[in-house]
Amino acid sequence: MAVAARGPGNARVDHLLVAEMIEPHSRVLDVGCGDGELLKLLESRGVDGRGIELSREGVNECVAKGLAVIQGDADADLADYPDDAFDYVVLSQTLQATRHPRVVLEHMLRIGRRAVVSFPNFGHWRIRLLLLFGGRMPRTDNLPDTWYDTPNIHFCTIKDFRDLCTTVGVKMERALALNAWGRPLRLHAPWWFWNLFGEQAVFLLSRREG
Protein backbone atom coordinates (compact mmCIF):
# COMPACT_ATOMS: atom_id res chain seq x y z
CA MET A 1 0.00 0.00 0.00
CA ALA A 2 1.58 3.21 -1.07
CA VAL A 3 -0.78 5.86 0.25
CA ALA A 4 -3.23 4.46 2.76
CA ALA A 5 -6.27 6.42 3.89
CA ARG A 6 -5.98 7.54 7.50
CA GLY A 7 -8.70 7.70 10.12
CA PRO A 8 -8.94 8.85 13.76
CA GLY A 9 -5.64 8.82 15.66
CA ASN A 10 -3.86 8.73 12.28
CA ALA A 11 -4.57 4.98 12.08
CA ARG A 12 -4.97 3.39 8.67
CA VAL A 13 -8.65 3.00 7.80
CA ASP A 14 -8.30 -0.68 6.90
CA HIS A 15 -6.50 -1.24 10.22
CA LEU A 16 -9.34 0.46 12.09
CA LEU A 17 -11.84 -1.85 10.38
CA VAL A 18 -9.78 -4.91 11.31
CA ALA A 19 -9.43 -3.67 14.89
CA GLU A 20 -13.15 -3.08 15.10
CA MET A 21 -13.83 -6.72 14.29
CA ILE A 22 -11.69 -7.89 17.21
CA GLU A 23 -13.05 -8.09 20.73
CA PRO A 24 -10.88 -6.31 23.30
CA HIS A 25 -8.59 -8.38 25.53
CA SER A 26 -8.48 -11.26 23.08
CA ARG A 27 -5.36 -13.08 21.91
CA VAL A 28 -4.41 -12.17 18.35
CA LEU A 29 -1.81 -13.41 15.88
CA ASP A 30 -1.06 -10.96 13.07
CA VAL A 31 0.40 -12.84 10.13
CA GLY A 32 2.56 -10.59 7.96
CA CYS A 33 2.54 -7.77 10.49
CA GLY A 34 4.96 -5.52 8.58
CA ASP A 35 6.31 -2.71 10.76
CA GLY A 36 3.81 -3.56 13.52
CA GLU A 37 1.43 -0.64 13.01
CA LEU A 38 -1.71 -2.79 13.29
CA LEU A 39 -0.34 -4.72 16.28
CA LYS A 40 0.41 -1.44 18.05
CA LEU A 41 -3.15 -0.29 17.39
CA LEU A 42 -4.53 -3.59 18.70
CA GLU A 43 -2.35 -3.50 21.81
CA SER A 44 -3.56 0.03 22.53
CA ARG A 45 -7.00 -1.59 22.70
CA GLY A 46 -5.90 -4.14 25.27
CA VAL A 47 -5.30 -7.00 22.87
CA ASP A 48 -2.57 -9.56 23.63
CA GLY A 49 -0.91 -9.50 20.23
CA ARG A 50 1.76 -11.58 18.50
CA GLY A 51 3.12 -11.21 15.01
CA ILE A 52 4.89 -13.07 12.23
CA GLU A 53 6.76 -11.10 9.61
CA LEU A 54 8.85 -12.25 6.69
CA SER A 55 11.14 -9.25 6.26
CA ARG A 56 14.04 -8.97 8.68
CA GLU A 57 13.75 -5.18 8.72
CA GLY A 58 10.07 -5.39 9.66
CA VAL A 59 10.72 -7.85 12.48
CA ASN A 60 13.56 -5.89 13.95
CA GLU A 61 11.52 -2.69 13.83
CA CYS A 62 8.64 -4.46 15.62
CA VAL A 63 10.83 -5.99 18.32
CA ALA A 64 12.52 -2.64 18.90
CA LYS A 65 9.00 -1.25 19.43
CA GLY A 66 8.46 -3.88 22.11
CA LEU A 67 6.08 -6.03 20.06
CA ALA A 68 6.16 -9.83 20.31
CA VAL A 69 7.03 -10.56 16.70
CA ILE A 70 8.98 -13.39 15.19
CA GLN A 71 10.64 -13.72 11.84
CA GLY A 72 8.75 -16.25 9.80
CA ASP A 73 6.75 -17.14 6.75
CA ALA A 74 2.95 -17.54 6.61
CA ASP A 75 3.32 -20.44 4.20
CA ALA A 76 5.91 -22.36 6.21
CA ASP A 77 5.51 -21.45 9.85
CA LEU A 78 1.78 -21.49 10.59
CA ALA A 79 1.96 -25.29 10.64
CA ASP A 80 4.06 -25.08 13.81
CA TYR A 81 1.35 -23.37 15.84
CA PRO A 82 -0.92 -25.53 17.99
CA ASP A 83 -4.70 -25.64 17.52
CA ASP A 84 -6.79 -22.95 19.22
CA ALA A 85 -3.72 -20.94 20.28
CA PHE A 86 -5.42 -17.62 19.50
CA ASP A 87 -8.85 -16.00 19.51
CA TYR A 88 -8.16 -14.31 16.19
CA VAL A 89 -5.61 -14.75 13.44
CA VAL A 90 -5.27 -11.67 11.24
CA LEU A 91 -3.99 -11.59 7.68
CA SER A 92 -3.85 -7.93 6.76
CA GLN A 93 -2.98 -7.18 3.12
CA THR A 94 -0.92 -10.35 2.96
CA LEU A 95 -3.19 -13.05 1.47
CA GLN A 96 -2.22 -12.13 -2.09
CA ALA A 97 1.48 -12.54 -1.25
CA THR A 98 1.23 -16.09 0.07
CA ARG A 99 2.15 -19.11 -2.03
CA HIS A 100 -0.79 -21.21 -0.87
CA PRO A 101 -3.65 -18.90 0.18
CA ARG A 102 -6.01 -21.80 0.77
CA VAL A 103 -3.61 -23.64 3.10
CA VAL A 104 -2.87 -20.40 4.93
CA LEU A 105 -6.59 -19.76 5.41
CA GLU A 106 -7.14 -23.28 6.72
CA HIS A 107 -4.26 -22.92 9.18
CA MET A 108 -5.60 -19.57 10.36
CA LEU A 109 -8.91 -21.11 11.34
CA ARG A 110 -7.18 -24.04 12.99
CA ILE A 111 -4.89 -21.83 15.10
CA GLY A 112 -7.56 -19.23 15.86
CA ARG A 113 -11.27 -19.47 16.54
CA ARG A 114 -11.77 -16.60 14.12
CA ALA A 115 -9.85 -15.08 11.26
CA VAL A 116 -9.78 -11.55 9.91
CA VAL A 117 -8.60 -11.19 6.32
CA SER A 118 -8.13 -7.94 4.44
CA PHE A 119 -6.95 -7.77 0.86
CA PRO A 120 -6.93 -5.50 -2.19
CA ASN A 121 -9.83 -6.30 -4.52
CA PHE A 122 -8.57 -7.06 -8.01
CA GLY A 123 -12.15 -6.77 -9.28
CA HIS A 124 -12.25 -3.00 -8.66
CA TRP A 125 -13.46 -1.08 -11.70
CA ARG A 126 -10.22 0.85 -12.13
CA ILE A 127 -8.20 -2.33 -12.30
CA ARG A 128 -10.66 -3.82 -14.77
CA LEU A 129 -10.41 -0.72 -16.94
CA LEU A 130 -6.61 -0.63 -16.75
CA LEU A 131 -6.41 -4.18 -18.00
CA LEU A 132 -9.17 -3.73 -20.57
CA PHE A 133 -7.84 -0.53 -22.13
CA GLY A 134 -4.18 -0.53 -21.09
CA GLY A 135 -3.63 -4.15 -22.03
CA ARG A 136 -0.99 -4.48 -19.32
CA MET A 137 -1.01 -5.81 -15.77
CA PRO A 138 -2.69 -3.01 -13.79
CA ARG A 139 -0.66 -0.77 -11.50
CA THR A 140 -2.33 1.66 -9.11
CA ASP A 141 -1.28 3.96 -6.27
CA ASN A 142 -2.01 1.17 -3.80
CA LEU A 143 -0.51 -1.58 -5.95
CA PRO A 144 2.45 0.13 -7.59
CA ASP A 145 4.67 -2.89 -8.31
CA THR A 146 5.37 -4.14 -11.82
CA TRP A 147 4.32 -7.72 -12.56
CA TYR A 148 7.91 -8.96 -12.48
CA ASP A 149 8.90 -7.62 -9.06
CA THR A 150 5.64 -7.70 -7.15
CA PRO A 151 5.40 -9.81 -3.99
CA ASN A 152 1.70 -10.19 -4.79
CA ILE A 153 1.47 -13.50 -6.61
CA HIS A 154 -2.15 -14.43 -5.86
CA PHE A 155 -4.43 -11.51 -6.53
CA CYS A 156 -8.12 -12.20 -6.17
CA THR A 157 -11.44 -10.39 -6.33
CA ILE A 158 -14.02 -10.19 -3.56
CA LYS A 159 -16.08 -12.81 -5.40
CA ASP A 160 -13.06 -15.09 -5.71
CA PHE A 161 -12.40 -14.85 -1.99
CA ARG A 162 -16.04 -15.57 -1.20
CA ASP A 163 -15.78 -18.70 -3.36
CA LEU A 164 -12.64 -19.78 -1.49
CA CYS A 165 -14.48 -19.40 1.82
CA THR A 166 -17.25 -21.63 0.51
CA THR A 167 -14.76 -24.20 -0.78
CA VAL A 168 -12.84 -24.29 2.48
CA GLY A 169 -16.10 -24.36 4.40
CA VAL A 170 -15.63 -21.32 6.61
CA LYS A 171 -18.41 -19.09 7.83
CA MET A 172 -18.40 -15.43 6.77
CA GLU A 173 -19.52 -13.57 9.87
CA ARG A 174 -18.98 -10.06 8.55
CA ALA A 175 -17.65 -8.47 5.41
CA LEU A 176 -16.82 -4.88 4.56
CA ALA A 177 -15.58 -3.16 1.45
CA LEU A 178 -13.82 0.18 1.24
CA ASN A 179 -13.93 2.50 -1.75
CA ALA A 180 -10.87 4.23 -3.16
CA TRP A 181 -11.16 7.00 -0.55
CA GLY A 182 -11.12 4.51 2.33
CA ARG A 183 -14.83 4.85 3.08
CA PRO A 184 -16.98 1.76 3.70
CA LEU A 185 -19.47 0.94 0.96
CA ARG A 186 -23.19 0.60 1.69
CA LEU A 187 -23.66 -2.39 3.95
CA HIS A 188 -26.54 -3.91 2.05
CA ALA A 189 -25.20 -3.40 -1.43
CA PRO A 190 -25.13 -6.56 -3.55
CA TRP A 191 -21.86 -8.49 -3.96
CA TRP A 192 -21.41 -7.41 -7.59
CA PHE A 193 -21.51 -3.78 -6.41
CA TRP A 194 -18.85 -4.42 -3.77
CA ASN A 195 -16.75 -6.34 -6.24
CA LEU A 196 -16.87 -3.43 -8.67
CA PHE A 197 -16.52 -0.48 -6.29
CA GLY A 198 -14.66 -1.94 -3.31
CA GLU A 199 -10.95 -1.24 -3.56
CA GLN A 200 -10.27 -3.29 -0.45
CA ALA A 201 -12.22 -5.88 1.48
CA VAL A 202 -12.15 -7.02 5.11
CA PHE A 203 -13.71 -10.34 6.13
CA LEU A 204 -14.39 -11.75 9.59
CA LEU A 205 -14.47 -15.54 9.34
CA SER A 206 -15.15 -18.36 11.74
CA ARG A 207 -15.21 -22.13 11.61
CA ARG A 208 -18.43 -23.61 10.35
CA GLU A 209 -19.93 -25.51 13.26
CA GLY A 210 -20.20 -29.28 12.96
Binding site: V59, V63, A64, K65, G66, L67, I70, Q71, D80, P82
Partner: protein, 396 residues
Protein backbone atom coordinates in the same frame (compact mmCIF):
# COMPACT_ATOMS: atom_id res chain seq x y z
CA UNK B 1 60.97 -10.63 25.45
CA UNK B 2 62.09 -11.53 28.98
CA UNK B 3 60.24 -8.50 30.21
CA UNK B 4 57.11 -9.60 28.38
CA UNK B 5 57.38 -13.02 29.96
CA UNK B 6 57.69 -11.43 33.38
CA UNK B 7 54.54 -9.39 32.77
CA UNK B 8 52.73 -12.51 31.58
CA UNK B 9 53.93 -14.31 34.68
CA UNK B 10 52.65 -11.55 36.96
CA UNK B 11 49.28 -11.62 35.19
CA UNK B 12 49.09 -15.41 35.58
CA UNK B 13 49.86 -15.21 39.30
CA UNK B 14 47.26 -12.44 39.64
CA UNK B 15 44.70 -14.60 37.92
CA UNK B 16 45.43 -17.58 40.13
CA UNK B 17 44.97 -15.51 43.26
CA UNK B 18 41.72 -14.30 41.71
CA UNK B 19 40.25 -17.84 41.94
CA UNK B 20 40.14 -17.67 45.75
CA UNK B 21 40.30 -13.96 46.48
CA UNK B 22 38.61 -12.17 43.61
CA UNK B 23 38.77 -8.44 43.20
CA UNK B 24 34.98 -8.22 42.99
CA UNK B 25 31.97 -8.67 45.24
CA UNK B 26 31.76 -12.04 46.94
CA UNK B 27 29.03 -14.18 48.47
CA UNK B 28 30.30 -17.08 50.59
CA UNK B 29 27.98 -20.00 51.30
CA UNK B 30 29.01 -21.96 54.37
CA UNK B 31 28.51 -25.59 55.28
CA UNK B 32 24.91 -24.87 56.27
CA UNK B 33 24.08 -23.89 52.65
CA UNK B 34 25.41 -26.60 50.36
CA UNK B 35 24.89 -26.52 46.60
CA UNK B 36 23.19 -29.70 45.40
CA UNK B 37 24.74 -30.68 42.06
CA UNK B 38 23.25 -32.73 39.21
CA UNK B 39 26.19 -35.12 39.62
CA UNK B 40 24.54 -36.19 42.88
CA UNK B 41 27.02 -34.60 45.26
CA UNK B 42 26.93 -31.50 47.41
CA UNK B 43 29.41 -28.67 47.05
CA UNK B 44 30.11 -27.00 50.36
CA UNK B 45 31.40 -24.55 51.27
CA UNK B 46 31.42 -22.56 48.03
CA UNK B 47 31.50 -18.97 46.91
CA UNK B 48 30.10 -16.83 44.12
CA UNK B 49 32.05 -13.82 42.88
CA UNK B 50 29.95 -11.17 41.16
CA UNK B 51 29.83 -7.60 39.97
CA UNK B 52 26.88 -5.26 40.39
CA UNK B 53 26.09 -2.00 38.59
CA UNK B 54 23.32 0.54 39.15
CA UNK B 55 20.89 0.69 42.06
CA UNK B 56 18.23 -1.74 43.17
CA UNK B 57 14.95 0.19 43.39
CA UNK B 58 12.72 0.22 46.49
CA UNK B 59 10.35 -2.39 44.98
CA UNK B 60 13.36 -4.60 44.13
CA UNK B 61 11.85 -4.94 40.67
CA UNK B 62 14.64 -3.69 38.40
CA UNK B 63 17.31 -6.39 38.73
CA UNK B 64 18.87 -7.72 35.54
CA UNK B 65 21.00 -10.85 35.68
CA UNK B 66 23.72 -11.11 33.05
CA UNK B 67 24.97 -14.62 32.34
CA UNK B 68 28.42 -14.75 30.81
CA UNK B 69 29.72 -17.05 28.10
CA UNK B 70 32.29 -19.85 28.29
CA UNK B 71 35.37 -17.66 28.62
CA UNK B 72 33.68 -14.57 30.00
CA UNK B 73 33.46 -13.47 33.60
CA UNK B 74 31.66 -11.09 35.95
CA UNK B 75 33.53 -8.01 34.72
CA UNK B 76 30.82 -6.85 32.33
CA UNK B 77 31.51 -3.14 32.23
CA UNK B 78 34.48 -2.35 34.40
CA UNK B 79 38.21 -2.62 33.79
CA UNK B 80 39.27 -6.23 34.09
CA UNK B 81 41.38 -6.69 37.26
CA UNK B 82 43.71 -9.21 35.60
CA UNK B 83 44.10 -8.04 32.01
CA UNK B 84 43.37 -4.33 32.53
CA UNK B 85 41.10 -4.42 29.49
CA UNK B 86 37.56 -2.94 29.31
CA UNK B 87 34.61 -5.12 30.36
CA UNK B 88 33.39 -7.70 27.84
CA UNK B 89 29.93 -6.18 27.27
CA UNK B 90 30.57 -2.45 27.62
CA UNK B 91 28.78 -1.87 24.32
CA UNK B 92 25.58 -3.35 25.79
CA UNK B 93 25.66 -2.60 29.51
CA UNK B 94 26.27 0.74 31.21
CA UNK B 95 24.75 4.19 31.75
CA UNK B 96 22.55 5.01 28.73
CA UNK B 97 23.35 1.66 27.08
CA UNK B 98 20.63 -0.82 26.01
CA UNK B 99 20.90 -2.53 29.39
CA UNK B 100 20.89 0.83 31.13
CA UNK B 101 22.53 0.83 34.54
CA UNK B 102 20.82 4.15 35.27
CA UNK B 103 17.51 2.31 35.12
CA UNK B 104 18.32 -1.29 35.99
CA UNK B 105 20.32 -2.95 38.73
CA UNK B 106 22.67 -5.26 36.86
CA UNK B 107 24.24 -8.30 38.52
CA UNK B 108 26.72 -10.59 36.81
CA UNK B 109 28.08 -13.57 38.71
CA UNK B 110 31.11 -15.55 37.65
CA UNK B 111 29.71 -19.01 36.80
CA UNK B 112 30.26 -22.10 38.88
CA UNK B 113 33.34 -23.94 37.62
CA UNK B 114 35.01 -20.80 36.27
CA UNK B 115 38.23 -19.28 37.58
CA UNK B 116 37.52 -15.67 38.49
CA UNK B 117 36.40 -16.17 42.07
CA UNK B 118 33.37 -18.43 41.97
CA UNK B 119 34.23 -21.92 43.16
CA UNK B 120 35.75 -24.05 40.41
CA UNK B 121 38.63 -26.44 39.77
CA UNK B 122 41.21 -23.65 40.27
CA UNK B 123 39.81 -22.78 43.71
CA UNK B 124 41.36 -24.22 46.82
CA UNK B 125 39.77 -27.46 47.99
CA UNK B 126 39.28 -26.86 51.74
CA UNK B 127 39.96 -30.54 52.46
CA UNK B 128 43.45 -30.52 50.97
CA UNK B 129 44.49 -26.89 50.84
CA UNK B 130 45.36 -27.47 47.16
CA UNK B 131 43.40 -26.46 44.04
CA UNK B 132 40.51 -28.85 43.33
CA UNK B 133 41.77 -29.85 39.89
CA UNK B 134 39.96 -32.92 38.61
CA UNK B 135 38.59 -33.65 42.08
CA UNK B 136 36.10 -30.90 41.42
CA UNK B 137 32.70 -32.47 40.62
CA UNK B 138 31.47 -32.25 37.04
CA UNK B 139 28.91 -29.46 36.85
CA UNK B 140 26.01 -28.59 34.56
CA UNK B 141 24.32 -25.44 33.29
CA UNK B 142 21.53 -26.17 35.77
CA UNK B 143 24.07 -26.22 38.63
CA UNK B 144 25.35 -22.81 37.52
CA UNK B 145 21.80 -21.47 37.58
CA UNK B 146 21.13 -22.98 41.02
CA UNK B 147 24.20 -21.22 42.38
CA UNK B 148 23.03 -17.95 40.81
CA UNK B 149 19.59 -18.40 42.40
CA UNK B 150 21.26 -18.79 45.79
CA UNK B 151 23.18 -15.57 45.16
CA UNK B 152 19.94 -13.72 44.34
CA UNK B 153 18.34 -15.10 47.51
CA UNK B 154 21.29 -13.72 49.40
CA UNK B 155 20.85 -10.33 47.69
CA UNK B 156 17.14 -10.31 48.53
CA UNK B 157 16.07 -10.35 44.87
CA UNK B 158 12.98 -12.48 44.49
CA UNK B 159 12.02 -11.78 40.87
CA UNK B 160 14.44 -10.72 38.19
CA UNK B 161 13.25 -8.11 35.77
CA UNK B 162 15.37 -9.76 33.09
CA UNK B 163 17.97 -12.43 32.48
CA UNK B 164 20.24 -11.89 29.50
CA UNK B 165 23.18 -13.66 27.97
CA UNK B 166 24.79 -14.95 24.80
CA UNK B 167 26.14 -18.40 23.92
CA UNK B 168 26.67 -20.35 27.17
CA UNK B 169 25.08 -17.32 28.85
CA UNK B 170 22.02 -17.87 26.65
CA UNK B 171 21.85 -21.48 27.79
CA UNK B 172 21.72 -20.23 31.38
CA UNK B 173 18.96 -17.79 30.41
CA UNK B 174 16.89 -20.67 29.01
CA UNK B 175 17.60 -22.77 32.08
CA UNK B 176 16.53 -19.89 34.31
CA UNK B 177 13.25 -19.54 32.41
CA UNK B 178 12.64 -23.29 32.70
CA UNK B 179 13.76 -23.81 36.32
CA UNK B 180 12.44 -20.58 37.87
CA UNK B 181 9.71 -19.22 35.57
CA UNK B 182 8.09 -17.25 38.36
CA UNK B 183 11.39 -15.49 39.09
CA UNK B 184 11.99 -14.26 35.51
CA UNK B 185 9.91 -11.45 34.04
CA UNK B 186 11.82 -11.19 30.76
CA UNK B 187 14.40 -13.45 29.14
CA UNK B 188 16.94 -12.59 26.44
CA UNK B 189 18.69 -15.70 25.11
CA UNK B 190 21.13 -14.61 22.40
CA UNK B 191 23.06 -16.78 19.91
CA UNK B 192 22.37 -20.01 21.76
CA UNK B 193 20.49 -23.30 21.67
CA UNK B 194 18.55 -25.59 23.98
CA UNK B 195 21.13 -28.30 23.46
CA UNK B 196 24.68 -28.65 22.29
CA UNK B 197 24.83 -30.21 18.83
CA UNK B 198 27.10 -33.13 17.92
CA UNK B 199 29.28 -30.69 15.97
CA UNK B 200 29.62 -28.42 19.00
CA UNK B 201 30.47 -31.34 21.28
CA UNK B 202 33.03 -32.42 18.70
CA UNK B 203 34.73 -29.02 18.69
CA UNK B 204 34.82 -29.00 22.47
CA UNK B 205 36.32 -32.46 22.55
CA UNK B 206 39.15 -31.30 20.29
CA UNK B 207 39.80 -28.43 22.71
CA UNK B 208 39.82 -30.69 25.73
CA UNK B 209 42.10 -33.19 24.04
CA UNK B 210 44.51 -30.37 23.21
CA UNK B 211 44.65 -29.41 26.91
CA UNK B 212 45.03 -32.99 28.09
CA UNK B 213 47.69 -33.76 25.47
CA UNK B 214 49.92 -31.04 26.91
CA UNK B 215 52.53 -32.84 29.06
CA UNK B 216 52.26 -29.96 31.53
CA UNK B 217 48.62 -30.79 32.20
CA UNK B 218 49.83 -33.59 34.52
CA UNK B 219 46.44 -35.26 34.83
CA UNK B 220 44.99 -31.95 36.01
CA UNK B 221 47.45 -31.58 38.91
CA UNK B 222 49.60 -28.93 37.28
CA UNK B 223 49.32 -26.48 40.17
CA UNK B 224 50.93 -28.93 42.58
CA UNK B 225 53.76 -29.56 40.13
CA UNK B 226 54.43 -25.91 39.42
CA UNK B 227 53.66 -26.03 35.70
CA UNK B 228 50.74 -24.86 33.51
CA UNK B 229 49.43 -26.50 30.31
CA UNK B 230 49.63 -23.21 28.43
CA UNK B 231 50.38 -24.71 25.04
CA UNK B 232 47.45 -27.11 25.14
CA UNK B 233 45.04 -24.47 26.37
CA UNK B 234 46.27 -22.00 23.74
CA UNK B 235 45.64 -24.54 20.96
CA UNK B 236 42.16 -25.22 22.38
CA UNK B 237 41.45 -21.48 22.31
CA UNK B 238 42.76 -21.09 18.77
CA UNK B 239 40.49 -23.84 17.50
CA UNK B 240 37.49 -22.55 19.39
CA UNK B 241 38.12 -18.98 18.26
CA UNK B 242 37.72 -20.01 14.63
CA UNK B 243 34.25 -21.31 15.44
CA UNK B 244 33.30 -17.93 16.93
CA UNK B 245 34.04 -16.14 13.65
CA UNK B 246 32.98 -16.79 10.08
CA UNK B 247 34.69 -17.48 6.80
CA UNK B 248 33.62 -14.04 5.54
CA UNK B 249 34.81 -12.24 8.69
CA UNK B 250 38.21 -13.97 8.60
CA UNK B 251 38.56 -13.17 4.92
CA UNK B 252 37.59 -9.53 5.41
CA UNK B 253 39.94 -9.13 8.35
CA UNK B 254 42.98 -11.06 7.14
CA UNK B 255 42.52 -12.49 3.67
CA UNK B 256 45.81 -14.10 2.70
CA UNK B 257 47.88 -11.17 3.95
CA UNK B 258 51.38 -11.85 5.22
CA UNK B 259 52.44 -10.85 8.73
CA UNK B 260 55.26 -8.22 8.67
CA UNK B 261 56.79 -9.70 5.52
CA UNK B 262 56.35 -9.60 1.80
CA UNK B 263 57.08 -13.21 0.95
CA UNK B 264 56.58 -16.60 2.56
CA UNK B 265 59.56 -17.73 4.64
CA UNK B 266 59.26 -21.38 3.64
CA UNK B 267 59.02 -22.30 7.30
CA UNK B 268 56.31 -22.92 9.89
CA UNK B 269 56.64 -19.47 11.31
CA UNK B 270 53.42 -17.41 11.44
CA UNK B 271 53.69 -16.15 7.85
CA UNK B 272 50.04 -15.25 7.55
CA UNK B 273 48.31 -12.56 9.54
CA UNK B 274 45.55 -14.95 10.47
CA UNK B 275 48.10 -17.32 12.04
CA UNK B 276 49.66 -14.53 14.03
CA UNK B 277 46.20 -13.39 15.16
CA UNK B 278 45.23 -16.87 16.35
CA UNK B 279 48.54 -17.33 18.19
CA UNK B 280 47.92 -14.04 19.94
CA UNK B 281 44.38 -15.15 20.86
CA UNK B 282 45.79 -18.35 22.31
CA UNK B 283 48.63 -16.80 24.29
CA UNK B 284 46.57 -13.97 25.76
CA UNK B 285 43.81 -16.39 26.75
CA UNK B 286 46.06 -18.63 28.85
CA UNK B 287 47.08 -15.65 30.95
CA UNK B 288 43.56 -15.20 32.24
CA UNK B 289 42.00 -18.65 32.10
CA UNK B 290 42.48 -21.92 33.94
CA UNK B 291 42.88 -25.05 31.82
CA UNK B 292 40.79 -27.27 34.10
CA UNK B 293 38.03 -24.66 34.17
CA UNK B 294 38.00 -24.87 30.40
CA UNK B 295 37.44 -28.63 30.62
CA UNK B 296 34.61 -28.29 33.14
CA UNK B 297 32.76 -25.46 31.43
CA UNK B 298 32.91 -27.02 27.96
CA UNK B 299 31.60 -30.23 29.52
CA UNK B 300 28.71 -28.38 31.14
CA UNK B 301 27.74 -27.00 27.73
CA UNK B 302 27.99 -30.46 26.14
CA UNK B 303 25.65 -31.92 28.75
CA UNK B 304 23.07 -29.20 28.21
CA UNK B 305 19.86 -30.60 26.68
CA UNK B 306 16.85 -28.76 28.03
CA UNK B 307 14.23 -30.87 26.22
CA UNK B 308 15.69 -34.08 27.66
CA UNK B 309 14.90 -32.79 31.16
CA UNK B 310 11.25 -32.45 30.13
CA UNK B 311 10.52 -35.82 28.53
CA UNK B 312 11.93 -34.79 25.17
CA UNK B 313 9.29 -32.07 24.70
CA UNK B 314 10.96 -28.69 24.69
CA UNK B 315 7.60 -26.91 24.92
CA UNK B 316 7.06 -28.57 28.31
CA UNK B 317 10.11 -26.74 29.64
CA UNK B 318 8.16 -23.51 29.20
CA UNK B 319 4.66 -24.72 30.00
CA UNK B 320 2.34 -21.92 31.18
CA UNK B 321 5.27 -19.52 31.38
CA UNK B 322 4.47 -15.85 31.93
CA UNK B 323 8.00 -14.80 31.01
CA UNK B 324 8.43 -12.56 27.95
CA UNK B 325 11.14 -13.81 25.63
CA UNK B 326 13.28 -12.11 23.04
CA UNK B 327 15.32 -14.65 21.08
CA UNK B 328 18.12 -13.28 18.89
CA UNK B 329 20.37 -15.03 16.37
CA UNK B 330 22.93 -13.94 13.76
CA UNK B 331 22.93 -14.93 10.10
CA UNK B 332 26.61 -15.94 9.99
CA UNK B 333 26.69 -17.81 13.33
CA UNK B 334 27.45 -21.41 12.39
CA UNK B 335 28.16 -22.50 15.97
CA UNK B 336 24.62 -21.70 17.13
CA UNK B 337 22.82 -21.23 13.82
CA UNK B 338 19.44 -19.54 13.44
CA UNK B 339 17.74 -22.93 13.12
CA UNK B 340 18.56 -23.55 16.79
CA UNK B 341 16.94 -20.26 17.79
CA UNK B 342 13.91 -21.12 15.66
CA UNK B 343 13.54 -24.37 17.60
CA UNK B 344 13.41 -22.31 20.81
CA UNK B 345 10.79 -20.02 19.25
CA UNK B 346 8.64 -22.93 18.06
CA UNK B 347 8.67 -24.44 21.54
CA UNK B 348 7.81 -21.10 23.11
CA UNK B 349 4.96 -20.58 20.64
CA UNK B 350 3.66 -24.06 21.36
CA UNK B 351 3.75 -23.17 25.05
CA UNK B 352 1.83 -19.97 24.30
CA UNK B 353 4.66 -17.77 25.55
CA UNK B 354 5.07 -14.13 24.61
CA UNK B 355 8.06 -14.35 22.31
CA UNK B 356 9.89 -12.07 19.93
CA UNK B 357 12.52 -13.39 17.58
CA UNK B 358 14.94 -11.48 15.41
CA UNK B 359 17.75 -12.67 13.21
CA UNK B 360 20.40 -10.04 12.69
CA UNK B 361 22.27 -9.86 9.40
CA UNK B 362 26.02 -9.76 10.02
CA UNK B 363 29.13 -11.53 8.77
CA UNK B 364 30.78 -11.48 12.21
CA UNK B 365 29.73 -14.99 13.20
CA UNK B 366 28.92 -16.20 16.69
CA UNK B 367 30.96 -13.45 18.36
CA UNK B 368 28.59 -10.84 16.90
CA UNK B 369 26.73 -10.70 20.22
CA UNK B 370 29.84 -9.18 21.83
CA UNK B 371 30.51 -6.70 19.06
CA UNK B 372 29.22 -3.38 17.82
CA UNK B 373 25.92 -4.39 16.17
CA UNK B 374 23.56 -1.37 16.21
CA UNK B 375 20.56 -3.52 15.28
CA UNK B 376 21.23 -5.79 18.26
CA UNK B 377 21.34 -2.75 20.56
CA UNK B 378 18.08 -1.35 19.16
CA UNK B 379 16.27 -4.64 19.62
CA UNK B 380 17.53 -5.25 23.14
CA UNK B 381 16.78 -1.67 24.18
CA UNK B 382 13.28 -1.77 22.66
CA UNK B 383 12.43 -5.15 24.14
CA UNK B 384 13.64 -4.19 27.62
CA UNK B 385 11.99 -0.78 27.51
CA UNK B 386 8.55 -2.18 26.71
CA UNK B 387 9.00 -4.96 29.29
CA UNK B 388 10.08 -2.37 31.89
CA UNK B 389 6.97 -0.33 31.17
CA UNK B 390 4.85 -3.47 31.66
CA UNK B 391 6.73 -4.15 34.90
CA UNK B 392 6.23 -0.57 36.11
CA UNK B 393 9.91 0.31 36.26
CA UNK B 394 10.30 4.09 36.16
CA UNK B 395 12.06 5.70 33.20
CA UNK B 396 15.15 7.75 33.95
Amino acid sequence: MAELKAVAGRIAVGREREADQPRSLLAVFGRDQPLRLDAGVELSPFQVAYQAYGTLNAQRSNAVLICHALTGDQHVCNRHPVTGKPGWWETMVGPGKPIDTNRYYVVCPNVLGACMGTTGPASTDPRTGMPWGLDFPVITIRDMVRAQAMLLDRLGIDTLFAVAGGSMGGMQVLQWAASFPQRVFAALPIACATRHSAQNIAFHEVGRQAVMADPDWRGGRYFAEGVRPHRGLAVARMGAHITYLSDAALHRKFGRKFQDRDNPTFSFDADFEVESYLRHQGSSFVERFDANSYLYLTRAMDYFDLAADYGGMLANAFKATKTRFCVISFTSDWLFPTSESRAIVHALNAAGARVSFAEIATDKGHDAFLLDEPELFQIVAGFLDSAATARGIAKV
